[in-house]
Every structure is written in C-alpha cells, then in structure tokens.
C-alpha cells in the first residue's frame, strides 16, 4: 500500500516535536477524516532554518508532515510557498489515492505556518515603525 519512503518517514519521522520560539505556526484539521497537523517554522534572513511538526493522523499523515518539513528546511520562504501537495506526495514515492488528502493537509499546514510568519513579520515591522 505505502511506498518504502512513506514507511521510512512514518517509522523515522524527521522533525517531530514542538518548537518553543517558532516564527510561524500553522495548524490544519481535515474535518473529513479528523486528522490534525501542526507545523512550526523558524526563519532567518528569508530562509527557513528549521521546521517541526506534530500530527494526529494515519501513517501517511505522519509521513507527509515529516517530508514536508524536510523539503522546506534550508529553503527560501519564497520557494517554500510554492511547495504543492503533489510534490510532497511525489517525494514520498507516491501515495495511495485514498491518502492523497493527507498531502493536501500537509501542504495546507505549511502554508498556514508561512502565512502566520508573514503576519507576525508584518506586525513586527508595523510596531517597529510606530
């Protein structure tokens, strides 16, 4: 059912855990299946220096979270923003059709975290400007 890469990322998930001093946090829940993902990013000079996740969900929810965090680490924010759920799924060697929604969730959580980061940055800039 799952590719070897999915299994690897499920068994040895990268970047599990909370991040105390995150620059952006995204949380997404899929009401259809009840999965919940939370992603944390650390940004420095427009580069994502660290990413972490927590996930309540099935094997592929965990694997896609893990892969998504891996794929954005060390990438510029601008590039991370372009990451699609298909790319995440492909990087995992594909997902079963019934599990594609997990990759959507991961991409969405990442997007939320990036948006949260932008928002916070904007807020900081504004308050600094005041």
């Amino acid at each position: 059912m799952y590719s070897e890469k999915v299994i690897d990322h499920f068994m040895n998930p990268r970047n599990v855990g909370q991040m105390e001093d995150a620059d952006g946090i995204g949380i997404e829940g899929n009401p259809a299946c009840g999965d919940i993902m939370k992603m944390f990013i650390k940004v420095k000079d427009g580069m994502i220096t660290d990413a972490k996740f927590l996930t309540f969900g099935c094997g592929s929810a965990i694997a896609t979270s893990s892969m998504a965090t891996e794929m954005i680490k060390g990438k510029p924010v601008d590039e991370a923003r372009k990451l699609t759920n298909r790319q995440i799924a492909e990087a995992l060697g594909g997902l079963p059709p019934v599990k594609m929604h997990c990759s959507v969730l991961a991409a969405d959580a990442l997007k939320s975290a990036l948006e949260d980061y932008e928002r916070k940055k904007a807020a900081k800039t504004t308050s600094a400007g005041v």
Partner: protein
C-alpha cells in the same frame, strides 16, 4: 519482517490443512457439475449432500434447510431481501440494530428504496441490544427482525434467543408473521449454533471465518419461512439459490464447520486465555486505553481498545512493521475515514473512536505472541503520542 503474528482472525482465517486436503480433489479430478446424470457429476452431488448434512448437524436442523451461498454478505443480503420481499404484502417494517455489520445495515437500507421502513435500535454502552427495545419497536407492519449473534468489532454477544422468543411472542399476539434472522458470521464455529435454542428462522455464516475458504457461506432457512429467492436461474439449492455449486468450497464448509464444532470448547478456552492476557496486559501497561465491549460477555477471541490521542491506522502500521497483523475494526471499513459506527453506537467520542485497535486471536497464536505484542505496544503508543497534536497541545 522478523516476526509474523496474525491477530486479525475476525477478518479472516487461514484454511485448516485438513479442510484444504478435503477440498483438493474437487478442483481438477472430481470436478463434475453436480447437476449431471453421469458418475462424475454424482460424485460432486454426493459431496455436496454430505457437506449439507454436516452443517445441518452443527446447526441442529434438517439438511434441506441449509442453503450454500457465496459468503456472509450474500447470506445476509438474501435473508433480508428474501424474507422482506416475501412478506411485502403483509407489512413493510424491518427492525435491526445500530451495531450490525454493513452487510445487514446496507441490505436494510436497500429495502428502504422499496418502501420499507427500518428501525435501527440503539445499544447500551457494551453494545447489547435490549430485548424490551425490540419488543417496543414491533408494530403491525413488522415483517423482519435481524440482530447479529456477535459483533465483529467489539465481540459483544447479543441475547438472540431472548430476542427471538420475545419477537415470536409479539408476533403471536399480533397474529402476524415476523421472521427472525441473525447474522452469526462472527460466532461461526465458536458459539452454540443450535437454531432451535436460538429460536431464529434464518442464520448467516461465512466459511472463511472458521478456517475454511473465502467465497462460500451458509444461509440457514427454517422450513416454512416466507422467502423469495434472490439469485435465480438454474434450480440449484432447491430453487432457493441458483448457480453452479462451488463444490470445493461447499466441501470445505462442511469439513471446517465440523472441525470447529468438534474442537469448540478447547478452541474457545485457548482463545479466552490469550484474550484475557492481552486485555490485562494492555490495561495495566498503557494509560488512556479503554476496553470496548463487555469484559466477559464477548467472543473468546476478541480484544478491542481505544487509545487516547492516537489514530488507528498509525498503530496498525507500526504493528505491521513489527510483524503483527491487526485491525482497527471491521475489515471492510479499515481505510475508511469515518469513525466506526459500532463505537459511535456504544457512545465512544469521535476522537477516541479513531484510536481503535482490534486484536483477534486464533488457533496458531501463543502466549509468547501475546507477550511480544505487550512488549512492543506501549512503545508504539508512546512514540505516536509524542507526535500527536492532540496529546501535545489540545
């Protein structure tokens, strides 16, 4: 995979070597179509007759009350449609429970398209249907009551004989015919199947649940029960189920059910020990683990827990990678996104229901197997909880 421990016997079982041996001659040698006049055909005919007698013996009924089908799903569908359509002129109300297998639930909703109304009875927190609820639900339009003998997810054994007795009493008072069917698929070969003690008119079995082949099952149909054949064609099975007989599968059914009945007590004893070891071990070693179903009035081989903050598939996958085959509930809803209707019916909250793990033991399992599972499960639960959003944050 280092280990290979199979703990999903409620989903299906391997064919017992003696059963396979009995089946083998009917594939390429005694392959005749039982309807023929010639010797080869008569061999098949005789083998089917013998299987029918064996099954009848276990069910304490007449051989010609046994219909061979393609499995539990067909037996359930045929029983429900067959009885309801036959009694269509006398009423349009079916009573069932909210914890039935989908083969029953969906067959009932199929009937809704033909003007039938279905009452889905609630159950208590252990999954028991209350006899009074059945009685209260009966109306002067009721034609069929179908309640399962034992639940496939949580192992709860329903009080079928009490229910059947109550239905027949109500039917008598109302002076109408109400057929009682039980989906006995999960009790096949491990519970008492005496149809007279159970008091049912129809009963479904699926052979692959008791160490026989897949794709064959049994429908017991009490003599005189109103019944419209559903699969029609050639006159096989006395015009009650057409189609060239699956001789090998039918032979396998006779042998498998016979073996199961013969060794029922020791098999149940074996399973019960392992079951209780699992229940005790999980309860004592893992926090936030809740047993579903009744502690004792459950199938001897069934263990079902919900784990807080966990999602079933990730537990299954972890177990699989450690060589343990398990399920999160009924086989056919695994992979589905909705929480189990059975767990919902017994009042498990949606989030907790998603963390269900069903372990069903069987013939080849040993105490070592159980201990192995008990040794790895706490670590798996811990690891997954460490990743879980809900455990960490909410």
């Amino acid at each position: 995979m280092a280990k290979a421990i199979y703990l999903d016997h409620a989903a299906t079982t391997p064919i017992h070597p003696q059963v396979l041996e009995a089946m083998l001659p009917y594939f390429s040698q005694k392959f005749g179509n039982s309807s023929g006049v010639y010797a080869l055909a008569q061999e098949a005919h005789k083998a089917i007759d013998e299987a029918r007698e064996k099954v009848a013996q276990v069910l304490c009924c007449r051989p010609n009350e046994i219909i061979f089908t393609s499995g539990g799903t067909e037996s359930d569908n045929t029983a429900i449609k067959g009885a309801a359509f036959a009694l269509r002129k006398t009423g349009n109300h079916i009573i069932t429970s909210s914890v039935e297998h989908h083969a029953v639930l969906h067959a009932c909703s199929y009937m809704e398209k033909f003007g039938f109304e279905v009452t889905y009875l609630p159950v208590d927190k252990f999954g028991f249907v209350r006899v009074e609820d059945v009685e209260r639900a009966i109306t002067d339009r009721t034609v069929l009551v179908t309640i399962m003998l034992a639940n496939n997810e949580i192992g709860t054994i329903e009080p079928i004989s009490e229910i059947a007795r109550a239905v027949k009493a109500c039917a008598g008072k109302l002076d109408r015919e109400i057929v009682v069917h039980t989906d006995a698929v999960q009790g096949g070969g491990t519970l008492d199947m005496d149809v007279n003690k159970l008091g049912v008119d129809m009963l479904s079995l699926s052979t692959h649940k008791f160490y026989g082949p897949k794709g064959v099952g049994v429908l017991y149909l009490r003599r005189g029960t109103p019944f419209d054949a559903q699969q029609v064609g050639g006159g096989q099975e006395r015009n009650r189920r057409a189609g060239t007989e699956n001789t090998a599968g039918i032979v396998g059914t006779g042998v498998a059910l016979g073996l199961a009945a013969e060794h029922m007590d020791s098999y149940n004893e074996h399973c019960r020990k392992l079951r209780d070891r699992l229940i005790k071990g999980i309860s004592s070693r893992i926090g936030g683990a809740y047993l579903n179903g009744h502690p004792t009035r459950r199938l001897a081989n069934n263990v079902n827990f919900c784990f807080e903050h966990l999602e079933g598939e990730s537990i299954l996958l972890s177990l699989d990678l450690a060589g343990v085959a398990a399920s999160s509930g009924s086989a056919c809803t695994t992979g589905s996104l909705e929480p189990s209707h059975v767990l919902t019916a017994i009042g498990v909250p949606a989030n907790l229901a998603r963390g269900a793990l069903r372990l069903t033991v069987g013939h080849d399992n040993t105490e070592e197997d159980i201990d192995y599972v008990l040794s790895i499960l706490p670590g798996i639960v811990e690891k997954l909880r460490a990743m879980s959003t809900t455990a960490q944050l909410i």
